[in-house]
Symmetry: C2
Subunit: 207 residues, 2 copies
DNA sequence: CCGTGTGAATGAGTTCACAGCC
DNA sequence: GGCTGTGAACTCATTCACACGG
């Protein structure tokens, strides 16, 4: 990983991965940057340049071998393994996430769930039993948990994130509507449908 | 709307709106670009420039009046009114969205729900009764629905989006893991936690 | 001839730095 | 003195355009 890959490029890779999966299902063996771009509404040049950060996967005159490129992308994105996740907060949202099928299918497995509410502790949801949030430390020590999903009320989010990080979690998927601070090197992504809506109404308001 | 506002700028406005709401709750009357930037980890210059696309809201030597700026942002983002939304697909995800409290609190009201499964049609969920998806046309004609939320399986997403648009919906919040195509002028935002995870594992993979 | 990979050119977005006002 | 608003400088990202290989 000598050269620094721009963040925007990384953010597009999962998109490439997704259409390639689709193309594989369609039994397409080869795809050009042209075809990929048409599906994603990107320019072919952008796709070629993005991929060129990681190697030379194409064949001149033909395009990219779908299976090959998929495999490369899996390696690049770290999708050739399972990732253990812990959910903190098993309110309505947390429970929905525990039942969300797309996670396990893509290799993201929720292996622990926590809540501060004693009434919820001990309940079995899906494959996991809800634990008291104070057990975070011991629970994380045992299992290999790489990613924390935060589904607690806004007021608690930063504290929960701090705890997760202090126990070794390196990535946070944050559903709380809070702009959290994380130390350098820790990955953080916000999932916030309200913000998405608010950035659309800007364009809708004269309608 | 003479000058063209960059998309990135618009995407940051909801973030500004959010901390300003917080500051208002904290009874802070005035905030400088410095303070706002510190909370969001943006440079003060960026915040000033972003806001300058819309007017001159600050006072030199003091900063921005929190209440005033909030009001301006509400006007800019179109949050000074209610927005009617329709959910298509009332599986687990769709039902979670129907019960999601943050939408109504922020003025986003789900006023209709649709599904293609006859077993689900007629059920009352929250304030709305699930309708057959073929009734989309008549239902949208009656109520004022501005935004469509798509929570159907990937294979149906594009068709549903096309229908919504053909009946006058101008904005789509898409939960299906599909890169959909929409005509010019239609707003589309994807909510896809799996993609967020996949862009984090890139940075985690040597861990 | 078609399509990749890539330096060079262009375009977009961010930060600087300072004049002007409170 | 402190902080905004903003052109100018700079940095980062996208697109162009072409040499090269299949």
């Amino acid at each position: 990983m000598a050269e620094q890959v721009p963040r925007v490029v990384v953010s597009r890779l999962p998109l490439y991965y997704r259409i390639l999966c689709l193309l594989e299902e369609e039994k397409k063996a080869v795809a050009s940057s042209q075809e990929l771009g048409a599906r994603l509404q990107f320019t072919p040049a952008q796709i070629r340049k993005d991929l060129s950060y990681f190697g030379r996967f194409g064949k001149q005159g033909k395009g990219y071998n779908v299976k090959r490129l998929l495999q490369e992308l899996r390696k690049i994105l770290g999708l050739d393994r399972e990732w253990g996740m812990a959910v903190v907060g098993v309110g309505k949202l947390g429970r929905a996430l525990l039942g969300y099928g797309a996670f396990p299918v893509q290799g993201f497995r929720i292996v622990a769930a926590f809540d501060s509410d004693p009434a919820k502790v001990g309940r079995k949801l899906g494959n996991v039993t809800v634990q008291e949030i104070t057990e975070l430390s011991s629970a994380l020590a045992g299992k290999r948990i790489h990613i924390g999903i935060v589904a607690v009320p806004p007021s608690e989010a930063q504290a929960v994130i701090n705890q997760l990080i202090s126990y070794g979690v390196k990535a946070i998927l944050n559903y709380a509507p809070v702009h959290a601070q994380v130390p350098n090197g820790i990955q953080l992504r916000d999932v916030d449908p309200v913000m998405a809506l608010q950035s659309m109404t800007f364009y809708l308001k004269n309608t």
